[in-house]
């Protein structure tokens, strides 16, 4: 069974609902399916995978489902990489059909085994023809996503059809979206969130509106113009959207649910978002590429309860990622593999059908199905999961494990601090010392900030140095690039 089954079922159940685009000019599920069947024919004329280099578009959706129908792995590529890195990834993906935006076609040279199909040609080919039914034999690998590794070459994470189907079917009911629902997707097509948005939107029957290039103003305009009811954003996007809404002095009356994920969300941003959009249901969705996206959710009720609670333990949950999905198993383990009691931090492990943990050439998922996420976290007494950060980002100072996120939150709580990043730097005496880089909006001094941390946390968690900068390095999905900072501030 393949992920194209989702489109088959959607077509059977609500063929004429708009799948992609505007109400007036959109592609229905039936039309999307016909397009995918047409494109399949073209794909089957060549061996290998289907790579996609381009922005979010109908072609992305058609190419994804067409690949599935043809039984070929679909490989969306990160167009923000440099041309030579991209070229290497295309070489690794070959043999393949490469569907590429017209204005990106020059970025990769001719490569043996790569059949290049510019978007305009792809659109012509899927719009034409008499589709033939029937399932082709094929690969169990549905999607390959190159993850940005911290060292060396990007790894190709592999998601099987069974992983993705399990995730969608376990969390969504077919056609559960109301007819007036519309989802604004601005997360990139090469990110797991972009893939799962397409799959869950299709199965739910919720029209998808793409914003191929993000800006807060464009996002707000599109959300208003299309009466968008649902959206998924990464933390930096949410911050900009909320700031812009405040600036414009407006709300978004049609918006019902705003989900966020893909990186650590500063508490101050969530709180501000809830203030600026009080009628909106907020959802924090935590997951990884290797887990087919979401494995834990902080629900709208969780947000409201935590926000208005005077109980410290409950209020704290606004900074959690919520509870693991009911059909999954999740544990926090120490470095020896022992399951930790509530309150004790360790590495987050997860097991379930949607979990992959496989890459091309190797896997990190254990034989018993447990997957080490390499995220550090802890569970509270009621099962709410708190993520401290990547295991790799943990600072080890004088034998003590210190997570940067906690210190960053304290720094950000100062009125003069717009943003903060904390990381470890090699130190002969301590092993690592704690370094903070702060983006200021006022004139606060290093010593005031160090005192603030000392008061609120512990003296051993006080940054050894605080530098000031105009900005911090983030990737386009909002992940803070601590390794860049480590290099810069050696």
């Amino acid at each position: 069974m393949r992920i194209s089954l989702l489109l088959d079922m959607a077509t059977e159940s609500f063929a004429d609902r708009v799948a992609l685009g505007t109400q007036g000019d959109g592609l229905s599920y039936a039309q999307l399916r016909v397009a995918a069947l047409n494109a399949r024919r073209a794909i089957e004329q060549h061996p290998g995978r289907v790579a996609y280099l381009g922005l979010n578009s109908r072609s992305f959706a058609v190419a994804l489902f067409a690949s599935s129908l043809a039984g070929r792995p679909f490989v969306p590529l990160n167009f923000r990489l440099t041309d030579d890195v991209l070229t290497r990834l295309v070489e690794r993906t070959a043999p393949c059909v490469l569907v590429v935006d017209d204005d990106m076609a020059d970025r990769v040279p001719e490569i043996a085994g790569v059949v290049r199909v510019p978007r305009t040609a792809f659109e012509a080919l899927y719009s034409d023809g008499t589709p033939s039914e029937g399932e082709s034999d094929g690969d169990d690998a549905a999607i390959l996503l190159f993850t940005s590794g911290t060292t060396g070459e990007p790894k190709a994470a592999m998601l099987r059809h069974s992983n993705l189907l399990s995730y969608v079917i376990s969390t969504i009911e077919l056609g559960s979206a109301e007819e007036d629902e519309a989802a604004l997707v601005s997360v990139p097509p090469y990110h797991i969130a972009g893939i799962s948005a397409l799959l869950t939107g299709t199965y739910a029957g919720r029209r998808i509106v793409y914003l191929p290039v993000f800006s807060a103003e464009d996002w707000i305009s599109l959300a208003a113009a299309e009466s968008v009811t649902h959206a998924m954003v990464v933390p930096t996007m949410l911050q900009r959207i909320v700031d812009e809404l405040e600036l414009q002095g407006r709300g978004l009356p049609a918006l019902r649910t705003l989900s966020y994920g893909g990186g650590r969300m500063p508490l101050s941003v969530v709180q501000k978002a809830m203030r600026v959009l009080p009628h909106v249901d907020f959802v924090n969705a935590y997951g990884l590429t290797e887990t087919s996206s979401t494995i834990a959710i902080l629900s709208p009720d969780d947000h409201r309860t935590a926000s208005s609670s005077s109980d410290e333990m409950v209020a704290k949950r606004l900074g959690s990622v919520g509870k693991p999905l009911p059909h999954l198993e999740l544990q926090v383990r120490d470095h020896q593999g022992n399951v930790q009691p509530p309150g004790s931090p360790g590495e987050v492990f997860v097991r379930g059908e949607q979990i992959s943990g496989e890459y091309v050439g190797h896997k990190t998922v254990r034989d018993d199905g447990w997957f080490p996420t390499k995220d550090m976290g802890w569970l509270d007494a009621d099962g709410y999961l708190f993520i401290e950060g990547r295991l790799d980002d943990v600072i080890v100072r004088g034998g003590e494990n210190i997570s940067p996120g906690e210190i960053e939150d304290v720094l950000r709580s100062h009125a003069d601090v717009a943003d903060a990043a904390v990381f470890g730097s090699p130190d002969d005496q301590w092993g690592e010392r704690i370094v903070a880089v702060v983006v200021r909006r006022g004139t606060v001094s290093e010593s005031v900030l160090r005192d603030l941390v000392r008061q609120q946390l512990r003296s051993t968690k006080t940054p050894d140095a605080v530098h000031f900068s105009d900005s911090l390095p983030y990737n386009e999905t909002g992940k803070l690039l601590r390794r860049e900072l480590r290099k810069q501030y050696r």
Partner: protein
């Protein structure tokens, strides 16, 4: 018949197809329209369904056998009624998680 999670079955009396979401706690015979279902990739002789067992299945709906906890997801609608060893399978109540995508 081994009803493994993820296995897909088709009806011989109609177009119904269903996927096992949760295996039964004991062996059962999965039927549609009263006739045993076959593996989705197999070929079989079409049969006539028992008239009282032709109430229909709906794509996207889940069907549950409370006796064995067998749970099926209908992936293709049809005219037959699903049953497990003669027990009719009622539709399961849909419980939704908040949208996260």
């Amino acid at each position: 018949m081994e009803l493994k999670p993820g296995s897909r079955w088709k009806s011989l009396v109609c177009s119904t197809e269903a996927v096992v979401v949760r295996s039964p706690s004991q062996p059962v015979t999965l039927e549609c329209g009263g006739v045993q279902m076959i593996a989705h990739t197999a070929t079989g002789v079409p049969a006539a369904g028992a008239p009282e067992l032709m109430k229909g299945t709906q794509v996207g709906k889940r069907y549950l056998d409370t006796d064995t906890a067998l749970e099926l997801l209908c992936v293709k609608s049809g005219e037959g009624t699903l049953s497990a060893s003669g027990r009719l399978l009622p539709m399961k109540d849909a419980k939704r998680l908040p949208a996260s995508d």
